[in-house]
């Protein structure tokens, strides 16, 4: 992290790396591509069986990172879940929040049909 001059970039990129490792370990899902939007980059994930040739069976990953206390990690997860629920995308979603201070990664799937 010390190599990064910009603390915000370091937090964001560190969170991406930890979240991607977390979803691979816990959900057996892999990042297949970045999402190109106007509001920051997220990732698309798929499982091993998916050919990866399109977005039809992929998951959208929303990531957030913080070096604050556990309360902030949980609050951010709630926010991300709300975003996924309110979001217009019909892709199934996964929210991941990385707490650097508390050394935890919170991951939750969102069923868009509910």
């Amino acid at each position: 992290m010390g190599a990064w001059a910009n603390n915000s970039d370091a937090t964001r990129d560190g969170a991406y790396a930890c979240a991607l490792a977390g979803v691979e370990l816990t959900l057996d899902l892999y990042a297949v591509r970045r999402a190109e939007t106007l509001t920051g980059a997220d990732y698309y994930l798929s499982n091993r069986e998916d050919s990866g040739e399109d977005f039809e069976k992929q998951f959208r990953l929303e990531v957030s990172g913080t070096d604050m206390e556990n309360g902030e990690v949980q609050r951010r997860l709630r926010l991300k879940l709300q975003q996924l629920h309110k979001g217009t995308s019909n892709l199934p979603g996964i929210a991941a929040v990385v707490g650097f201070k508390t050394k935890e990664i919170m991951i939750q799937k969102v069923d868009m049909s509910t």
Partner: protein, 372 residues
């Protein structure tokens, strides 16, 4: 050639664009984004209509890439074309409509001939009192004022100006770096702020900061102030007065959690990280403020007064607070280091004032914050 090959090429160029942006090579980044957009656009020819998600996401991606490449007209044309075809899934149509709003705002500014500093700051307010696209006027005006105060302080610091305790920023600074409030895509409630580029560069001679740095510094300050990182904030700022002022201005912006749950400040381009202020942030800031001003007074003399801030005369070192149920207002003295842009927006608002009660029954000022 398949969709996947072209999409991968597009990703490659988008990644190069991000690297270039991090190195501050804006023109080069725009070139890479354009390459990425062209590949993404081409890839659309290879997607079957039945693959609704793939089609929708790729169209959104194409428009976003052209927008980031500053090819605004191209982005707009693609958005209209695909909305008109009526073949995209609902989520994609909604997303494209939001993007069109952003594109139109950008075009308006291009046409107006007003030059802005890189990076629009988007402020998003969420909570019980806020509905989609609407919020109480008083609340939003206060948030706008608080963001403006933070921007001016950032600019003054970058201009190496002496710390300002009284009054607003000088007219020269207000003329040179004018914040604009601009329309933002509808969210819970959102507004956007852009800083106009200095009109006449020689005014501050060699002192003038790179205007492009203002937004980036604004984010760094907000980020450090909102976390328990007082030491890092002091390292970033030239003196303790600036660090304390930024902490207090950020606390003003942070909600208590009663009527607003969060205030999210982010860059429209998403290059800088976003800062989410909540009641937790307010607690963290309070902790930083308390630790920066240790008091050796006994606990029994420390009180917190809740009331309406009715009057103040900072030159004469006092503020006056109306306490509900009390006949006469309370005068709190020795306001010393209180600065106008922190306490000014609190007049006629409910406030929490930390005080020391002396043995003569007088109140000595310690700290003040808004109580929603």
């Amino acid at each position: 050639m398949k969709w996947l090959d072209l999409h991968k090429e597009s990703e490659k160029y988008a990644s190069l664009a991000e690297h270039a942006l991090r190195e501050g090579k804006v023109t080069e980044a725009q070139g890479f984004y354009k390459e990425a957009a062209q590949h993404e656009l081409h890839s659309l020819d290879f997607i079957e209509l039945a693959k609704q998600r793939t089609l929708g996401i790729t169209v959104i991606s194409t428009i976003a890439l052209y927008y980031k490449a500053k090819e605004i007209s191209e982005a707009e044309e693609i958005a209209h074309t695909w909305l008109g075809k009526k073949v995209l899934p609902a989520f994609a149509n909604e997303e494209i409509k939001k993007m069109l709003q952003t594109i139109w705002s950008e075009k308006e500014f291009e046409d107006s001939g007003v030059d802005f500093v890189k990076g629009t700051v988007l402020v998003s307010v969420k909570g019980r009192m806020v509905v989609h696209g609407g919020a109480p006027l008083e609340l939003i005006l206060r948030k706008i004022d608080e963001v403006k105060s933070l921007f001016y302080r950032t600019i003054e610091m970058q201009l190496n100006k002496p710390f300002r305790k009284r009054g607003g920023p000088s007219t020269e600074i207000q003329d040179q770096f004018c914040p604009w409030l601009i329309q933002a895509p509808a969210g819970s409630y959102q507004f956007a702020v852009k800083i106009q580029k200095p009109k006449v560069r020689p005014l501050f001679h060699e002192e003038e900061p790179e205007a492009e740095d203002v937004t980036s510094m604004f984010f760094k300050i907000l980020s450090l102030s909102s976390q328990d990182k007082h030491e890092e904030l002091e390292e970033l700022t030239p003196n303790k007065e600036y660090a304390d002022a930024f902490l207090k201005l950020t606390r003003n912006l942070a909600p208590t959690g009663k009527s607003i749950e969060t205030v999210e400040i982010k860059s429209v381009t998403g290059i800088e990280d976003s800062v989410v202020l909540s009641s937790e942030s307010r607690k963290a800031i309070n902790k930083s403020i308390a630790s920066s001003k240790p008091s050796n007074q006994p606990e029994s003399t420390k009180h917190q007064i809740t009331g309406i801030l009715r009057a103040l005369n900072l030159n004469k070192d006092w503020i006056e607070v109306d306490i509900p149920g009390e006949e006469r207002p309370v005068i709190i003295r020795q306001t010393g280091d209180v600065i106008d842009d922190v306490v000014g927006p609190m007049v006629n608002q409910q406030v929490l004032v930390d005080v020391i009660k002396t043995s003569e029954g007088k109140y000595v000022f310690q700290d003040i914050q808004l109580e929603e």
